[in-house]
């Protein structure tokens, strides 16, 4: 079996475990390439169906074409969409683009807190998230089934053992489990799979006329495109096989302090 098929089969297995074990299950969809591949894998696992809602945490600062793309797929693929938004903070205006919060604080309220609110509102105990180990060092330490306590905190020093595809599915009340079916994929695998399966991705990933493309998508004020001439999926794959620059180099909040991302993640960020 080829490598992509191995990755795919493992992800399907994990998705099916999650669906069997969690009554209140949702999948986070950031509209980016990873969670869109994850969505595709869910359709593989459930034979064309997506039997749980997709949660999009909308900071209101997303690049506008992301929202258009989101709504189009919801229509075409008949998806159940739940949008989470931190209205209180947006109304108070204490955000980074307003100059009234640091980038990390802004991520904390508009993404992490918004996520916490939407999970609480719908009583989700299982949340499927498209993070990968190769993205970033703290994500490298993740488990496929990763518990968060009632305050959403991640106890990275004391994680459950995970072996032979036996996952943590028993947990104390109040806790929830993050499920990471893409954990073992790499960035280039994601693009190879997009190519193989012909998955529609948002055009922001492809180089525009000025030789720029987004490698990782986030909020407009904190996400910068990279220099690239890759205009097709296969050109992106060629580019990635040669690059030595990290994937999230265009994400400004990671660079604000040395351990910014680590702190965000311990507190419950995706």
């Amino acid at each position: 079996m080829d490598h992509l098929s191995k990755l795919e089969n493992q992800s399907i297995y994990i998705l099916r475990e999650a669906f069997n074990k969690f009554e209140h299950l949702a999948m986070l969809w950031s509209i980016g390439k990873d969670s869109t591949v994850l969505l595709w894998l869910a359709r593989k696992a459930f034979l064309g169906h997506v039997p749980f809602p997709l949660v999009h945490v909308d900071t209101s600062y997303k690049i506008p074409s992301m929202i258009e793309y989101r709504d189009r797929l919801v229509r075409e693929w008949k998806l159940q969409l739940v949008v989470g938004q931190n209205h209180a903070v947006l109304e108070a205006g204490t955000t980074f683009p307003n100059g009234r919060a640091t980038r990390v604080e802004c991520c904390g309220t508009l993404k992490k807190d918004a996520l916490q609110q939407v999970l609480a509102k719908h009583h989700y105990t299982g949340v499927i998230v498209g993070v990968r180990r190769d993205e970033e060092p703290t994500r490298a330490k993740e488990r496929y089934f990763s518990p968060r306590d009632k305050n959403m905190e991640w106890n990275v020093e004391d994680q459950p053992p995970e072996l032979w595809d036996q996952f943590k599915t028993d947990f104390a009340p109040g806790a929830h489990i993050r499920i990471h079916p893409l954990l073992h994929w790499t960035e280039v695998n994601v693009w190879e799979y997009i190519e193989r399966e012909n998955i529609p991705v948002i055009p922001l990933y492809f180089a525009n006329g000025e030789g720029l493309r987004y490698r990782s998508l986030g909020c407009a004020p904190c996400t910068a495109p990279i220099k690239s001439s890759a205009r097709t999926v296969s050109e992106i794959i060629t580019e990635l096989r040669q690059t030595r620059t990290p994937e999230r180099s265009g994400r400004a909040q990671d660079q604000e302090s040395e351990d910014a991302f680590e702190k965000l993640r311990r507190d419950g960020y995706m």
Partner: protein
């Protein structure tokens, strides 16, 4: 464009034997370092006035700062011309065994590092043992720091001989032993002049020689059912083929319920339609005949089903904060099955750091944290499984203590029966009780319905011994149980009867009626009588509800019984002091279709008892499941 192939490896070994240095060198020598990283680290070392250490590279790559999170398993990537590698960082310290196991369980191959100067140490042995337990068979042993031993071929050979001999005792055979100096890159990516006497592969060549293991599709089919979906008005059984191949038209048996059907279609989405799926594929299947199958069932071909037993031997490592203790109940997860389990006996406990046998006062009672043990486990219901050495995915399990996966184990071979005997037909519930207490209420009170376990066989075949042992086991399991023994009955209930065929028939009739009353009262009634005539036993069966009479043929050849002869009865019969002695001067009609046959010339008492217990548990299970 060919997709990137990837192999997951784990690097293990004793503390300070050079694991991190090796990783640093592998990264550098394969050109996998991020731009400027090496120069940056050299500058940092220079500024601090300390020598540059390759070992720091791994930490730097993981951007470990003061957060102390090195202790968890992490992964980093490097390339050779052949493929991409993922190094799973599995920390070697004892307290991080949980992370080491998590990391190593995902690996397809392992590099085990031994310091040539210090030689084989505790962790070298412990890690070797765990690799074996986790099922990793592709192992290269790297004998490091040979510069400290003047690049001596003799020293290398000595370490190899020591370690190879030890690994052999646990059944692990490494592919290759490689002499290296990780710090200087000797025999890592390029051949070393200083170790010119060595003509085997370099570390990278050894890695490239490993195969990205596919799941074995030449083995018997095993497809554990993960879930049952009802999409588009169809019932689809979802699961991953763990071993073997499944095809449309295959006749499939589902264990442990033993229902059969035929594969109608194989379901995938957005993939070429085929009528075949091999090991590793997550698929769905539909069946021609609709039968009740739920998560946990294992699909197999009829010719080669898994074992279906509630008792097996295992080798297990324990990671839990609380010990794995006898007398408590745990959840066992094997493939997609989840069952309640408990320890029957702990046969041996081994300290995982020294691998010495632990002599503990009550060592049979528990397995402590970071210990390894050989033990016998029981499940409350039959488990479908394989021996790990035969089919790994259905031969390994984890134990859950409260909310946590606290241990893992592999099932080891033993003289297992293939399965418990057929459960017989289902209860028709034709109890005649007209009182105000129903049979169901009695069963609820006792935790089980009543039944008769009828032991029949020659004198000295072992009936009374098995009956009393079985009574003790069932009593300990919390069951209501009572033995009607031949000698005791003849003292009272049958004291007016002799041994003529007519009197024997009457004796057995009385026993049968009494046993039936016990069973009606909700008790498991065990009878231990020669009961030589088929017609008498058939009467005892006929008066019981279907499925509630279990005939057990306690079968040993008459020569064996005569040799045992504890009461000297055979001798007397041969001397014609006893007339009409069964087997000598009176006939014994063996059962034609006993529920259980116990060859007591081949089975021990405890094995015999276990078979009866397995039968009882399977029966409970099948009557609980309705189609």
């Amino acid at each position: 464009m060919t997709p990137t192939e990837q192999l997951k490896i784990v690097i293990v070994g004793h503390v300070d034997h050079g694991k991190s240095t090796l990783v640093g060198r592998l990264f550098h020598d394969t050109g996998s370092l991020p731009e400027g990283k090496l120069e940056q680290l050299r500058r940092v070392a220079e500024r601090r006035g300390v020598p540059f250490e390759w070992a720091n590279l791994m930490d730097a790559l993981q951007s470990e700062r003061d957060q102390n999170i090195t202790i968890d398993t992490a992964q980093i990537w490097f390339h050779t011309a052949r493929r991409q590698y993922v190094i799973i960082d599995a920390p070697g310290h004892k307290e991080f065994l949980k992370n080491m196991v998590t990391g190593a369980a995902q690996a397809e191959a392992a590099l085990l590092v031994i310091d040539a100067h210090e030689g084989v140490q505790e962790n070298s042995r412990r890690h070797g043992y765990l690799l074996h337990l986790l099922g990793i068979r592709q192992v290269a042993v790297l004998v490091n720091k040979l510069d400290l031993e003047n690049y001596s071929a003799a020293r290398f050979q000595q370490v190899e001989n020591d370690y190879r001999a030890w690994l052999k005792t646990i059944g692990l055979e490494p592919r290759v032993f490689i002499p290296i100096v990780a710090r200087d890159g000797d025999n890592i990516a390029t051949r070393s002049g200083k170790l010119g006497w060595y003509d085997g592969p370099t570390v990278l060549e050894a890695l490239d020689g490993f195969s990205a293991t596919d799941r074995p599709d030449h083995q018997p089919l095993r497809m554990p059912i993960q879930d049952v979906y009802r999409f588009d008005h169809r019932r689809i059984l979802a699961g991953r083929v763990e071993a073997g191949v499944i095809q449309v038209g295959d006749k499939i048996v589902f264990s442990p319920t033993d229902k059969t059907s035929t594969v109608k279609t194989i379901e995938r989405w957005n993939a070429p339609a085929t009528d075949r799926a091999a090991a590793g594929e997550s698929i769905g299947i539909t069946l021609t005949e609709q039968i009740f199958v739920a998560r946990g069932a294992v699909a197999a071909h009829e010719a080669a089903p898994p074992y279906e037993l509630s008792r097996f031997k295992a080798r297990l490592f324990w990671l839990g904060k609380r010990p794995f203790a006898k007398g408590r109940n745990y959840k066992l997860k094997l493939a997609t099955q989840e069952l309640e389990c408990f320890i029957e006996s702990v046969d041996q406990v081994i300290d995982a750091s020294s691998l010495a046998v632990v002599s503990r006062k009550e060592h049979e009672l528990f397995v402590g944290r970071h210990e390894v043990a050989e033990l016998t486990l029981r499940t409350r219901k039959p488990l479908a499984f394989d021996v790990h050495a035969d089919i790994a995915p259905t031969g390994r399990f984890v134990i859950v203590d409260e909310f946590d996966v606290a241990g893992g184990g592999i099932i080891i071979g033993d003289n297992y029966p293939r399965r418990t005997h057929d459960a017989g037909t289902k209860s028709d519930n034709i109890f005649w009780s007209r009182g105000k207490v129903t049979p169901q209420q009695r069963a609820a009170r006792h935790g089980h319905p009543g039944c008769v376990i009828w032991l029949t066989g020659l004198s000295s075949s072992g009936k009374s011994t098995i009956a009393t042992e079985l009574e003790r086991e069932l009593f300990n399991l919390g069951r209501s149980v009572y033995v009607l023994d031949g000698d005791n009955i003849r003292h009272g209930l049958g004291s007016d009867l002799g041994f003529s065929p007519k009197d024997r028939a009457e004796n057995i009739r009385r026993v049968a009626e009494v046993a039936k009353l016990f069973a009606d009262a909700g008790v498991i009634c065990i009878t231990a009588f020669i009961s030589p005539y088929r017609a008498d036993r058939d009467f005892a069966r006929k008066i019981m509800p279907a499925g509630r009479f279990i005939e057990v043929h306690v079968n040993a050849p008459i020569e064996v019984c005569e040799r045992r002869d504890p009461k000297g009865l055979y001798a007397k019969a041969r001397a014609k002091e006893i007339k009409e002695f069964t087997g000598i001067s009176a006939p014994y009609e063996p059962p034609l279709h006993p529920e259980i046959e116990l060859r007591t010339d081949q089975l021990s008492v405890s094995e015999s008892v276990a078979r009866v217990l397995e039968h009882l548990q399977l029966q409970d299970d099948s009557s609980a499941i309705s189609i």
